[in-house]
Symmetry: C2
Subunit: 248 residues, 2 copies
């Protein structure tokens, strides 16, 4: 086993199986080494497609670095993003052999993969992993339902504000930053990708971002670099009551 693939039992690395760091507290060296044996890495360049909907997909994976999206496309080309995968998020479904969505790398992407069959075997023999996976899936379901409220009932302005809040919050979480003070980050999505996320056109996305900038709710440096001087102000525009975190 190469050096960089070894780590202690209670490691904190981002490439662990199904956010493995959260499981480690109770896991055994034995489990870990079994996971080590079936894992491998894959890298993709920004814009590359990981799998197409309907393709055979014989692995599950977790995002190590970079950002990936899940999208659905109708025959006439209308697209809807249905998942946004940030580092530590899980991709793939145990018990299914073909991908249900297009998976695309929107930035350079590294994933930690597990061949499906051995992974499923491990799930059977190691209840922790299944439990952790259930927890993560339930979180994703909650996020999807928050997203449904956004798609069905929010205005364009509220949609943009919500998306910026989601990205800002997740970015702050990843950086382990304190909640207060202005938030600064780079948008990981193009205007078109944001439109696909929000059920809008890219023109509307552009217009609403310009409006928020004009009104001082966000600051823009270039097209991607965002500063949020007052997060509460942004949340007000988003129309959220609960400010529970929403993820991909």
């Amino acid at each position: 086993m190469p050096m960089q693939d070894m780590h202690p039992v209670h490691h904190e690395c981002g490439d662990c199986p199904i956010r493995h760091r959260a499981v480690c507290a109770r896991c055994e060296a034995d489990e870990l080494s079994r996971l080590e044996q079936i894992k491998y890495y894959r890298s993709y360049q920004a814009g590359q497609t990981v799998v197409w909907s309907g393709d055979r997909m014989d692995f599950v994976a977790s995002v190590v670095s970079g950002i990936a999206t899940l999208t659905q496309t109708m025959e006439d080309g209308r697209r809807q993003m249905v998942g946004l995968l940030l580092p530590s998020d899980f991709v793939g479904r145990p018990g299914r052999s073909t991908a249900a969505y297009d998976v695309t790398a929107t930035t350079d992407l590294v994933m930690c993969c597990f061949r499906k069959k051995p992974f499923e075997d491990m799930m059977l023999s190691t209840p922790h992993i299944g439990q952790r996976l259930l927890e993560m899936t339930l979180d994703e379901l909650d996020a999807a339902r928050e997203w449904m409220l956004l798609l069905g009932r929010k205005t364009a302005r509220e949609k943009i504000a919500s998306l910026l809040a989601i990205i800002a919050r997740r970015d702050a979480t990843l950086k382990l930053k304190a909640a207060k003070g202005p938030l600064v980050f780079d948008l990981p999505l193009t205007r078109e990708e944001m439109a696909d996320y929000l059920g809008l056109t890219l023109e509307t996305v552009s217009r609403q971002i310009s409006a928020l900038r004009r009104e001082g709710i966000i600051l823009l440096d270039g097209k991607r670099h965002v500063t949020i001087p007052d997060f509460d102000l942004l949340l007000e525009e988003a129309g959220d009551d609960s400010d529970g975190g929403v993820l991909g």
Copy 2:
């Protein structure tokens, strides 16, 4: 144990824990009797609220008969349905003590409940149940993602056609009916509830249903009784490519 609560190991009843009939093939009499000991029934009238979002919820449950909905509401009253629960569907989240959504009975409803603590204990000692729950949650996540495509990108007409297709399909499944021939069923939702499902207003729902009726794609007897002479014709209007089942 009262007579009506006893059943053989490979029963087919609809009130079983987390669609228990699907687990039975591999479950033991022992497990079953433990489940029997922690289960109880609750009934609600049409229109009654089961729990409000934010309320304490110390049970998980599966729908025995009738229909329930999960909805989210914004402060100004905009509502979005985020789940439609038909018989055998599961409600509640292990590991969370308050409800995240309003749960409402839209028809008379019977649920088979399990107090949360003993249910969670059982999950730990009985891997089957956790596995089955993971499977069901993944199905729900897929359904939610299909729903997101509907909310974000479909026209009003496509939304209505999709909803009718979903209800017709699930209804046929519950009745174990053959796929061919005209489908006949009663709409379990008011126009307003359909609107909340689809991210539309009730007027638009009404107009689009009228349009589909005028064009012979559906037949209406009264306001609720629907006949679909040709299911494929309906699917065409729905704009679906995959005709995989979508559920609540």
